[in-house]
């Protein structure tokens, strides 16, 4: 720490000095904590037996051999490797160098491998099912987080992602049941999500109501509306109104046959393929087109944007509406994406995890998608572990996305900086 600096300026707040520190001890400290966790697992909760990783299903054309490791030996090896990486990171930081990204990724994968091996000792882990389920569970989260990214980049905080997902799920179920056409359900869900987005935008932009309030209230409103119509209309006429057809899984010819990757990524429903396109489009759109530049300008510095002739409020309005449509599309996953009838509050907080992914992903579509995938993995890992008899209480696995987000918001993991004008109405003077 630079003590000389302290003499020069009369610092009113001691934490202002922290910004002058170049190197960050966050990574080594986090490494050390996770190494200790792994060590504690090995010492205090040893689990004998072997862990089998199954990489392919019987029906696959190309079979990948199973990987079988003795659990405890593998865990000890992982602990040793983790300790080495921690020491390396300490050395790096002490010599004023940054901890490279590859080290963090390797560390995370090692820890995950050690944890899975420990948790799955004495049984076999269906890796395809685990990863496939993770991606599936992440679908609504990814759509929701894309919606959140667009909205917040344009300067409108979208707490109502949950409402948009739920309205999409409801409308998709009803329209697809009536018409028998899942495609029509998909379009109707986009319209429904867009309507919720428009209400949010209208109240936030035209009436300057606080965006968080509108979002929270819209969540309650949509829960109330969908549950009311479910109990009053859908439940008595379930056969006609609430038996949605489902999208079939499409096997993409060549890509679907690649071992491991194929069954996970390319034997999904059309909703997932649309999601790949949506992620790419939003990323390219936001950072490489005129549209994206305008959206970001409006969200970062609306006054400057206005000065150069961008219509701030209409840009915001239409982008929040677009975001609503994307989230509504994500809601279809719950009903026509999996062929399940609509039920009350069936999104169960997915919108809030999506919001968490937006923040954890630092308002970047790609990073938010990765965060959503991580959260999907955490919750599907919990499902898988509870099937094979989990040593960790499932609640703690389910808690993980939320805890991680709190750390992220508090700046303990990475830096999280929202768009400058996020949540602030633009009042033209």
């Amino acid at each position: 720490m630079s003590r000389t600096v302290e003499h020069h300026r009369v610092a009113p707040q001691p934490d202002a000095l922290a910004t002058t520190v170049v190197t960050s001890w966050k990574a080594p400290i986090a490494f050390a904590i996770f190494t200790l966790i792994a060590l504690a697992l090995a010492v205090f909760a040893p689990r004998p037996g072997e862990t089998t990783y199954r990489w392919s299903r019987e029906t696959d054309a190309i079979q990948v051999p199973d990987l079988t490791v003795p659990a405890m030996q593998a865990l000890w090896a992982v602990v040793a490797l983790l300790a080495v990486s921690t020491l390396y990171s300490v050395l790096l930081v002490r010599s004023k160098r940054r901890v490279p990204l590859w080290l963090i990724v390797v560390f995370a994968l090692l820890f995950m491998f050690g944890f899975l091996t420990w948790a799955g000792a004495g049984s076999s882990l269906p890796m395809i099912g685990l990863l496939f389920g993770s991606l599936s569970l992440a679908v609504p989260l990814i759509y929701g987080s894309l919606a959140g990214v667009i909205g917040e980049r344009a300067g409108v905080v979208n707490i109502a992602i949950e409402a948009q997902l739920l309205s999409g799920a409801f409308t998709a179920a009803v329209v697809a049941s009536i018409t028998g056409q899942p495609w029509l359900g998909l379009i109707a869900a986009m319209v429904a999500g867009m309507l919720v987005g428009m209400v949010l935008a209208a109240f936030a932009i035209k009436y300057f109501v606080d965006q968080v309030i509108v979002g929270v209230v819209l969540n309650v409103l949509v829960v109330g509306l969908t549950s009311f119509f479910f109990s009053q209309v859908l439940a008595p006429n379930a056969a006609a109104l609430n038996t949605p057809p489902r999208f079939d899984r499409l096997h993409i010819p060549v890509l679907g046959d690649i071992p491991i990757i194929g069954p996970v990524f390319f034997r999904q429903t059309i909703i997932v393929y649309l999601m790949y396109i949506a992620v790419a489009l939003v990323y390219i759109g936001l950072f490489h087109t005129r549209w994206g530049l305008r959206v970001r300008a409006v969200g970062e510095h609306p006054q400057a944007a206005d000065t150069v002739g961008i219509r701030v409020n209409s840009t915001r309005f239409w982008n929040v509406a677009l975001a609503g449509a994307i989230a509504g599309l994500g809601g279809t996953f719950f009903t026509i994406g999996s062929g399940i009838a609509f039920n009350k509050e069936m999104t169960a907080g997915a919108g809030f995890i999506a919001l968490a992914a937006v923040i954890f992903g630092q308002w970047d579509p790609i990073k938010a998608t990765l965060a959503a995938l991580l959260f999907g993995f955490a919750s599907n890992l919990q499902n898988t572990l509870s099937v094979i008899g989990s040593p960790v209480p499932s609640e703690f696995m389910l808690m993980l996305p939320y805890v991680v987000t709190i750390f992220a918001v508090a700046g303990l993991v990475g830096k999280s900086r929202a768009p400058a004008a996020d949540g602030k109405p633009y009042i033209k003077s």
Binding site: V209, I213, V214, Y402, I406, V409
Partner: protein, 460 residues
């Protein structure tokens, strides 16, 4: 505004029209303030300029008063409730099977449809009234008044929670973490309530304090993170809701923590009778001591906000944190303290659930959505203590009546959620309500009267 803010003379906040930072839209800063300056201008320019006949005539007393009523905030609250009930009525009517059947031959006999609509809506809303205020079908007064006591019982946690959210609003913060704070408080209070054996009275107080501290600390996490790292409290409290839910769910199914011994259900044992809140009106009514605590909490919050120096600092931070910092107020400390108090109030809501309303042991659903309802209560009450109190009783009535409406008329209870959220949406956007009802917008009149004014000035 129903908040009594006595003119403090030289106090810097005295000129503030309202500390209602949460939902005041900038366009309608203060109707009273607007008319006041208007009057000043009228009197100032009155003698100087020969009044053009019929143009700048000061409006009559009645007109001013009507105008103040029409542009005031109270009328918006009333109209918002009316509008929301109207939307609810439309929903009830459209989904009613009798109405649907009658509308099949609407053009042949339109009267049937109208009658069916009237019957379904009137039936639902009279069931709502009889379930929440007074049941005319009962013979004696005691049985008839029972719905009102149910309303107050439902209102108890809503008032306590609403006060917590309102207090945070006044400091410029959103406490969306009511669910988590209630769950943690309920767990602590419940654990003390069934796990210990203390004498009557003391047991209750210890459990109550334990719950309040639990709620305060859970909210304090968000306050501390906001103060120390600038983490936005909305995100942190939302995330803490889920963390608390899963934490409590885990404790509820782990023997030795909260789970009832010898049971495999995720549920606690019943509370020790010594810890249970006493009934206020005897055993035939559910109304419990928690309601008295809610009244006390309202008084305490009122005192804190408008009579204590802490409350003055709270409001100063809420209105303008930068100005407050310049004035020497420890803004970060205020954030932390406000979240502590807010969490304790939501904790009171959780405690009154486990020690008052559901004393036979609780599950992870003990919060019953009150944490979110509290937000709407605080918004309807415009973040003032007594406004929140009244809003809590109104929403308590909706809840109590909603159940009897569901039982008697088959109208799903979720209609209450719709009506509640619509009320808040309408209240948050007064210009929308004024447009719908054709009321004059505040500030529209000063614009009109300003024109002759400027002419007069130019003429000089």
């Amino acid at each position: 505004m129903s908040d009594p803010q006595p003119p403090k003379g030289d106090a810097p906040g005295a000129n503030e029209p309202d500390a209602d930072v949460a939902i005041e839209e900038p366009a309608a800063a203060s109707p009273e303030g607007g008319t006041a300056t208007d009057d000043v201008r009228a009197t100032a320019s009155g003698p100087g300029i020969p009044a053009e006949p019929g143009e700048v005539q000061p409006p009559s007393k009645w007109q001013t008063m009507l105008r103040q009523i029409a542009t005031g905030n109270a009328i918006i609250s009333v109209l918002a409730v009316v509008l929301a009930l109207l939307v609810g009525a439309i929903m009830i009517a459209f989904t009613d099977e009798r109405v649907q059947a009658a509308s099949g031959y609407f053009f042949a006999r339109p009267g049937d449809t109208l009658l069916a609509i009237w019957e379904s809506v009137a039936g639902a809303y009279s069931a709502l009234f009889q379930g929440s205020v007074y049941n005319f079908r009962r013979d004696d007064f005691l049985a008839g008044i029972r719905p009102l006591t149910e309303t107050l019982t439902f209102a108890t946690p809503l008032i306590a929670g609403g006060l917590g959210v309102a207090l945070a609003f006044r400091v410029g913060m959103f406490n969306i973490g009511g669910r988590g704070q209630m769950l943690i408080a309920a767990s602590v209070a419940g654990w003390i309530g069934f796990g210990f054996d203390l004498p009557w009275g003391i047991h209750m107080i210890v459990a109550l304090i334990g719950g309040l501290v639990g709620g305060a600390l859970w909210a304090g996490i968000a306050g501390l993170l906001k103060a120390r790292t600038g983490a936005h409290e909305v995100i942190v409290t939302i995330m803490l809701n889920y963390v608390a839910f899963y934490l409590v769910s885990w404790m509820l199914r782990t023997p030795g923590l909260l789970q009832a011994p010898g049971s495999s259900n995720p549920k606690t044992p019943a509370m020790n009778p010594n810890a249970v809140f006493p009934d206020l009106l005897g055993p035939q009514f559910n109304l419990h001591f928690g309601f008295i605590l809610a009244i006390l909490a309202t008084i305490v919050v009122w005192w804190i906000l408008s009579r204590s120096s802490l409350g003055f600092k709270f409001r100063a931070v809420g209105i303008n944190p930068n100005a407050a910092r310049v004035a020497g107020i420890n803004v970060k400390g205020m954030y932390f303290y406000a979240m502590l108090i807010s969490g304790a109030l939501l904790g009171l809501a959780g405690v009154s659930q486990v020690l008052g309303t559901v004393t036979t042991g609780f599950t992870a659903g003990i919060d019953a959505g009150i944490g979110f309802d509290a937000i709407t209560v605080a918004l309807l009450g415009r973040s003032t203590p007594w406004g929140t109190f009244a809003a809590g009783i109104l929403f308590g009535a909706f809840k109590a009546g909603g159940f009897s409406m569901q039982a008697a008329e088959g109208v799903p209870i979720e209609i209450v959620l719709v009506v509640q959220s619509l009320i808040v949406l309408f209240i948050a956007a007064p210009p929308l309500v004024r447009t719908i009802f054709g009321l004059p917008q505040p500030g529209s009149k000063p614009k009109r009267s300003r024109k002759p004014d400027t002419k007069g000035v130019k003429a000089k």
